[in-house]
């Protein structure tokens, strides 16, 4: 009995109380800062080394939907034209918004990239139930999605939860590069969610195929037919990135 009390005292309240003020350790690689002035435009060091082809030159730009945030480009650029800031608010409602151009500032990004829609706010603003489907996910994104519900991030306090069945859900959160072998199950799960429904892609693999882009064993046709409401980049995305994206999509912060 006393041990249990001691444990409760030790456990304290580890929840992050105010997400708007939460910050991640500066070592974290989040929103990329591109400096066109120091990029000579001719040296391909950064784009050559990028494992997923996320970086392009002339003009210098970085696609966060492909980026796995390994930091190899930042290490390879002799002029430090590419740096990663610890800013984690990097979700977007449009795929094209994930392409970061030179001079774009981390603090402006979330306001521009996520456009909260009125009907999503009205329908799901107070309660959003999601079904997660891993379609080739390596368990990285899955663990971070699960972490959103733990005592640190406590997603449940915002009325957002993961359900055990797509029948109980308002939408899907998809992770992984969409393997061919998961294709029928993914389509079944999507059909099982009643309208109106939303689709969220979490992680570089779901958004672009990530390091698996172009593999023969994928079938990404689902994404050609299905509208996507939120893109959450990362490899894997940090729980704060996921929560920030969801809350902005719902119009709860912004």
């Amino acid at each position: 009995m006393f041990e249990l009390l001691k444990l409760r005292i030790q456990h304290n309240r580890p929840v992050i109380k105010d997400l708007r003020r939460a910050e991640i350790n500066p070592a974290f690689r989040g929103f990329p800062l591109l400096n066109a002035a120091s990029c000579c435009g001719t040296c391909p060091a950064c784009s050559d080394v990028c494992p997923t082809g996320a970086l392009a030159l002339n003009p210098l730009r970085l696609d966060m939907g492909k980026c796995i945030f390994c930091g190899e480009c930042a290490r390879s650029c002799p002029e430090q034209a590419v740096r990663f800031s610890p800013a984690y608010r990097i979700g977007a409602t449009k795929r094209a918004a994930l392409v970061v151009n030179a001079g774009q500032r981390a603090e402006d990004f979330p306001g521009q990239a996520i456009v909260a829609r009125k009907e999503i706010h009205r329908l799901f603003g107070r309660s959003l139930k999601l079904r997660q489907v891993s379609a080739g996910g390596c368990n990285g994104c899955e663990m971070e999605l699960a972490a959103c519900g733990n005592v640190n991030f406590d997603m449940g306090r915002f009325g957002i939860d993961f359900t055990a069945s797509p029948r109980h859900a308002d939408g899907l959160v998809i992770t992984g590069p969409l393997t061919r072998n998961m294709s029928p199950a993914l389509k079944d799960a999507y059909r099982s969610v009643s309208e109106p429904k939303i689709v969220i892609l979490a992680g570089a693999c779901a958004i672009s195929g990530g390091v698996f882009a172009g593999a023969d064993q994928l079938n990404r046709s689902f994404l050609v037919e299905t509208p996507v409401d939120l893109f959450i980049p990362g490899c894997p995305p940090h729980p704060l990135t996921i929560l920030d994206g969801l809350l902005r999509l719902l119009g709860r912060i912004g």
């Binding site: 001691k6 996910g137 390596c138 005592v151 640190n152």
Partner: protein, 496 residues
């Protein structure tokens, strides 16, 4: 037996590997297994129009590995090893699927990764499940999409009432073609590094470490002591983090929410420590062939030391409460038993094997990297039930926390990263590592120019799925979640 004798991370010239007739390879493999050796790899390689089968056995007592091969020129079948060596059943299914050479007499020759969906006839007949017949017998199918936020796979239970007679596990849903990508993108070591990190996202350091050490050994590079210790610290942080997460999940599965909350919060502290070192909560970006990308500067060392010290006390208290709870113990004890004999026969690995009393631990048996300098004592328990698989995690967390603290003191600066020249040509190398799940085995074959010609990956789950299937036999179906979580196996590591 004149097999080539090597050690973990010791390359052997392909031409020095004895090539035996398949009957003799089979016989000698079985003799080796009977003498207590274990199969660490069993894979095919297509070269010059022929298929070569390589078998790698481990002698844990003497830290030796033994390699032999057999060539299939036109033969389309061979007598299966599985009937006499059940632990090989997935290996042989994989070999058949990849090369079409049939292990005749294999009792369970079903698809492993292919033929599930998207093929010409995407129906269940491609995967013939076992059926049990009788009055009131029924089947329960679960998956591929599961109730929690986890990877996909299909479980088929044959039940009578609540009791499980048999569990069949269908894999393949996660198949991404990792081994093919290793060859297709072999010119880009940076890409391969990131690919290795994504073999199983919960064992980033385990797999990427095995990959990096394989390349270093083939290039003849000795990384600095500093880099080696940083890798070792990262690998133990990974072990502690997942073990804590598993204890949290096990507590949740028996509705013990205090345990779930407390262990979950402790896990966060560990993965945030990894983040402070390398910018990723899972250690991505840390390891490179030739060393590491990030140092642990003195101020961070002190922070980590303080965190680890606190964690040990906090974990002790949390474990004391968890393992003293009657409601938890009544669900954990005598549930999902795997005996030591079974563990040996099916070649189990990792903490699950050690919880059954089968003392295998690559860190001690085939030391590599920092473990050559900081010997690891193998921890074992004997009941082989969910309790043992849970409690051994607590024991290993303590062990790893101390190891981290000890290794932090050994950091003294030094070079982080060395250049890795091209790998040696015409070699085979086996890189073993003890991931938190158990033995990771990467086998590399280089061609005449030192380029990767075959990259074979084995996640520890490949051995242990069979153990899960056997563990639930005779248990109530409602005990499946807690049994499953006590193993916590990787779907993508198996499906590749």
């Amino acid at each position: 037996m004149n097999w080539a004798e090597i050690k973990n991370l010791q390359a052997v010239r392909i031409t020095d590997i004895p090539c035996l007739p398949i009957d003799r390879l089979r016989e000698e493999t079985l003799t080796g297994l009977a003498a207590g050796r274990r199969v660490v790899q069993f894979f095919g390689h297509r070269t010059a129009g022929k298929v070569v089968l390589y078998v790698v056995l481990a002698d844990d007592e003497y830290s030796h590995l033994y390699v032999a091969s057999s060539v299939f020129a036109k033969e389309t079948s061979y007598p299966a090893f599985t009937p006499a060596a059940p632990g090989l059943h997935l290996f042989e299914r994989e070999f058949y699927e990849q090369f079409g050479i049939k292990p005749a007499g294999h009792p369970w020759l079903k698809p492993l990764r292919k033929g599930i969906a998207g093929s010409a006839a995407a129906d269940e007949t491609l995967y013939p499940f076992f059926h049990m017949e009788g009055e009131e017998v029924h089947e329960v199918g679960v998956g591929p999409i599961h109730a929690g936020i986890i990877e996909p796979g299909h479980f088929r239970f044959s039940c009578h009432g609540e009791g499980v007679y048999h569990l069949e596990i269908q894999h393949g849903f996660q198949h991404r073609g990792v081994e093919e990508l290793f060859l297709r993108r072999r010119e880009s070591p940076v890409f391969l590094l990131r690919l290795a990190e994504s073999i199983a996202g919960d064992s980033v350091i385990g797999h990427v470490g095995a990959f990096a050490r394989a390349l270093e050994a083939l290039s003849g590079v000795n990384i600095s002591r500093q880099a080696m210790i940083i890798r070792t610290i990262a690998s133990e942080l990974e072990r502690v983090a997942v073990h804590l997460g598993d204890l949290a999940a096990l507590a949740a599965d028996v509705a013990y929410l205090t345990g779930n909350a407390v262990f979950g919060a402790l896990r966060t502290k560990v993965i945030n420590t990894t983040l402070a070192i390398c910018g990723s909560r899972f250690g991505r970006g840390l390891v490179v062939p030739g060393g590491v990308n990030f140092d642990i500067p003195p101020s961070l060392r002190e922070d980590i030391r303080a965190t680890m010290d606190r964690l040990e006390d906090e974990t002790d208290l949390a474990a004391e409460v968890l393992f003293a709870s009657a409601s938890v113990l009544s669900r954990f004890e005598k549930t999902g038993i795997v005996t030591e004999d079974t563990a040996r026969r099916i070649g189990m690995v990792g903490p699950a094997a050690r919880a059954s009393g089968f003392a295998v631990d690559v860190r001690a048996d085939h030391p590599y990297g920092g473990f050559s300098y900081f010997p690891v004592h193998k921890m074992t328990l004997h009941s082989g039930d969910v309790f043992a698989r849970a409690y051994i995690r607590h024991v290993e967390i303590k062990q790893s926390l101390r190891m981290i603290t000890e290794q932090l003191s050994a950091l003294n600066g030094g070079e982080l990263n060395k250049n890795c020249p091209a790998p040696a040509a015409g070699m085979l190398l086996v890189s073993l590592a003890e991931g938190w799940r158990g033995e990771i085995a990467h086998a590399v074959i280089t061609d005449g120019e030192g380029k990767l010609q075959r990259y074979k990956i084995k996640d520890p789950s490949f051995h242990n799925w069979f153990a899960l299937a056997l563990a639930v036999r005779g248990n109530g179906i409602s005990d499946f979640p807690v049994c499953n979580k006590s193993f916590n196996l990787s779907y993508c590591g198996t499906d590749l």
